[in-house]
């Protein structure tokens, strides 16, 4: 069964450094998403992406965050200058179209020191 893959599984970064989280969505999917889950808390929406542009973003997704689809398969989340409170699990998801089941990867655990 096709799946969303994310790399790395764990990223440790010094505060203030840039970090790029990578995702390979399911190949025939057209909508891509990033969510985060702070330890012990609910899953929170960050951003949705369709047709090479952001469709919607949350308040969390400020100027420090950006997303990109650099080629036909990868979807990346960049945090420009990380803060301690960015420590969380970051999940990528994709769906064939909007309002269809979103399929999630197993996440990247981001630890900011």
């Amino acid at each position: 069964e096709p799946e969303v893959t994310q790399t790395p599984s764990h990223q440790v970064t010094q505060m203030g450094q840039e970090v790029i989280l990578r995702c390979v969505p399911i190949s025939n999917h057209l909508y891509f998403y990033w969510y985060r889950q702070i330890l012990g808390q609910k899953v929170e929406f960050l951003v949705s992406f369709y047709n090479n542009e952001i469709s919607e973003k949350s308040e969390i997704f400020d100027d420090q965050f950006s997303v990109e689809r650099p080629d036909g398969s990868n979807f990346t989340l960049k945090i420009r200058s990380t803060k301690l409170e960015d420590s969380a699990m970051y999940f990528c998801a994709s769906s064939e179209v909007g309002n269809q089941p979103q399929h999630f990867g197993d996440g990247t655990r981001l630890s900011i020191l």
């Binding site: 609910k42 929170e44 769906s95 999630f104």
Partner: protein, 112 residues
């Protein structure tokens, strides 16, 4: 800084019994709802979805019920198995085409 975790409601179920997990959603404009299962160290796994023009949908061993009048969603798991132990989240689409808003989750523990 230290995160304060949510105290997840826990449902203890005996193996072989049926489970019912409940969820109250917040946005009356939501027209699409999904149940996810999350095992430790993994991402949310799609279980079943339902649209607002339906009030019941069945899958393999699972049934989702939607009551739009009281904004309530439930997931029924038949003949619960040890592999069903996980955190279960409901999610709604709000007034949006793709953004999902997740509930707090319910921890299901299956005992032998």
């Amino acid at each position: 800084g230290e995160s304060v975790g949510l105290h997840l409601p826990t449902l203890s179920v005996q193996e072989g019994d049926n489970s019912i997990i409940n969820c109250a959603y917040s946005n009356s404009a939501s027209d699409y709802f999904i149940w996810y299962k999350q095992e430790s160290g993994k991402g949310p796994q799609f279980i079943i979805d339902i649209r607002s023009n339906m009030d019941k949908r069945q899958g393999q061993r699972v049934t989702v019920l939607l009551n739009k009048t009281v904004k309530h969603l439930s997931l029924q798991i038949a003949a619960t198995q040890p592999g069903d132990s996980a955190v279960y989240f409901c999610a709604e689409n709000g007034n949006s085409w793709g953004k999902l808003q997740f509930g707090a989750g319910t921890q299901v523990v299956v005992t032998p």
